[in-house]
Subunit: 383 residues, 2 copies
């Protein structure tokens, strides 16, 4: 439990696009400056950057210092933090650490990914075990396809059980002016007619590859009003791991790291899952969303898909998810993803989500999945 409470006092989001003309460092600096402008500050004490793929796609390490310089902040503390596909949430947690510990009074968490350069899939697969999984050709896509196949078999549910996850995300993205697929209508029929990527996973079960950057600025809760009329408070931040390989887990369909980090977060915030107004889940694949809903306790094992099928994940449902498009339809520029979600949560909790507004939103949950859920971060936010 953190000693000093922490709030979000500024957000910055760059439009998600298939291929940005901006360079990685420019995208990161843009999100940084947008968040600083939102908080009305010209300087911060520390910058924590999240990026997963620049080693391979841009041939660049050391991106935190690079982004700091590009943003005109040379001199500032800058470090990079990683947790595979949950990297953006790791940057958020590190900025939270910095402010909660008293080491920084203003810290920025910025995430950036430029996936349009090079070939991202093999670089992303390094989130799995390079010795035991990659030699067999495993990727994050094939891993999720296996989980979905096992789920369909074990619980004897039809492929249609999952379609509403994608339909819901695309419906909500239409009200997010920064979403990659803001102009796309997607029906259940579209999902089922989409190309099989890795059976039974179809194209529209998967989040798209894209470019983007997003940032948030954190300050001590006691000083938050100096920067923002509507600060959003971080009620809990938590991380857990699981056995690294899915094969080593007792039940491949049970996400222990999601369960553990959610339970720890609920305990720290002293709330129940039913107090959550909206849940920004890691919907990189429909099956992952379904398993997260089960791990958090919104549905029993084998029943997560019903929340989608029964329309309980809509804006006015019991557990609204992907309220501004999610990874599926806003886009999933990996290192930036959890920071986009945090920005969206700030918009929801301050009643600025427009036509995607969840009524009376007061508490929001964010879950971020690293690799095959070997790492899961849970954050809770409130006003």
């Amino acid at each position: 439990m953190s000693i000093r409470p922490v709030s979000i006092v500024g957000i910055g989001q760059v439009e998600v696009v298939k291929a940005s003309p901006k360079r990685l460092r420019e995208l990161g600096a843009m999100a940084t400056r947008l968040a600083m402008a939102d908080a009305g500050v010209e300087q911060v004490d520390a910058l924590f950057a999240g990026n997963m793929l620049s080693d391979e796609l841009q041939g660049q390490k050391h991106v935190a210092a690079l982004i700091a310089d590009q943003a005109g902040l040379a001199g500032v503390e800058a470090l990079e933090v990683k947790a595979a596909t949950a990297t953006g949430a790791a940057a958020l947690r590190m900025a939270y650490f910095a402010v909660a510990s008293g080491e920084a009074d203003l810290a920025i968490a910025v995430g950036v990914e430029k996936m349009s350069e090079g070939v991202p899939t093999p670089a992303m697969a390094k989130a799995l075990d390079a010795e035991y999984e990659l030699p067999q050709g495993a990727t994050l896509i094939s891993r999720n396809a296996e989980l979905m196949r096992l789920y369909l078999e074990r619980y004897q549910v039809p492929e249609e059980a999952f379609v509403n996850f994608a339909v819901n995300a695309h419906r909500n993205a239409r009200h997010n002016p920064l979403a990659l697929f803001r102009n796309k209508r997607v029906t259940a029929r579209d999902v089922l007619a989409s190309r099989l990527i890795s059976p039974p996973l179809r194209l529209l079960d998967c989040a798209p590859i894209c470019d983007g950057a997003a940032a948030v600025i954190l300050a001590p809760r006691s000083e938050a009003r100096a920067y923002s009329d509507q600060p959003v408070h971080i009620l809990a931040s938590s991380v857990a791991t699981d056995r690294f390989r899915v094969q080593d887990r007792q039940d491949p369909l049970w996400l222990e790291a999601a369960y553990l980090s959610a339970q720890a977060a609920f305990r720290r915030a002293n709330i129940h899952r039913n107090d959550v107004s909206l849940f920004e889940a890691h919907d990189a694949f429909s099956i992952m969303t379904c398993l997260l809903l089960e791990a958090v306790g919104y549905a029993k094992p084998g029943q997560g898909w019903r929340l989608a099928a029964d329309d309980e994940i809509r804006l006015r449902g019991r557990v609204p998810i992907s309220t501004l498009g999610g990874l599926k339809a806003r886009g999933h520029p990996i290192g930036a993803t959890a920071l986009y979600q945090t920005c969206e949560i700030v918009l929801q909790l301050t009643e600025r989500a427009g036509k995607s507004q969840v009524p009376n939103a007061s508490i929001a949950m964010l879950q971020s999945v690293g690799g095959a859920a070997s790492t899961v971060l849970t954050h809770l936010f409130g006003v």
Copy 2:
């Protein structure tokens, strides 16, 4: 300034070797378990891993969760943190954040690098600017060679000015049973006769490529005695950046990030640089050590080499450096380096450094350099 003071209550070091038969994950897990045994604990709250090159050399990302699992800690919080060649110090700072913030009561910082697999030099060069420096063939070696050439020219000092940095490091390494070069005698003549790597840099001006892992366990200072009879306290932890590219700096021979982070650390610990009993510098290249001594204020610009020439860097000198071999002679397995140095500082401050003991050591400084000093971390320790 951190709200909750933090101490080191356990250390673990794996022998540094040219090429280890152990895998990356095994090395990391070994250092982790050694540190846990030293602190007498079977569980920790969080593990922060530092590694620079596994993306390229092992084709592996997500190493924090991988090491946690290998160490038998699956379930625990695990995140990875990076700052190019200063990565080990970044892991230390993150573990410090975790304990200082109250989010963890026992946190491990573990660093690991296995450079014997694949070709490390191009991967290391990604710490420089991939767009403006790498296309010209720049590497960390060529960058440091340029700095040394400029230094020799500007200050009109002979090449011999630097030899004592290597001689001192190798002399001290002979008393470190875990050092790569513990059995090697190196004289001034050996240094000057060694192969020119990138003129005027010679082989013995450069730290070697090797494999290793080291870890420390942190706890709140108020609880440190429950784990250790001789806890070492972290008096300050600080990070600064500089303009990313050397070319963009007013003076390439002035390390602003080292200056800024040292000044911040002295201020937070409320000490003067002359209170420091020993200084574990980032002696990856002799010229870097020289410039760090100048940036911290131990010598005026152009005079840093005199501390070596005048034997002031010896164990009984004014500023003892590389007291158990330094990067140069203990070895520089990058992600692990600052954690080896932290372990050695613990040995020094608790009078366990054997024949390399600095008399009456009470305060120690660690500086860790990322890339071409675009990022520098300074840590201060005391008993």
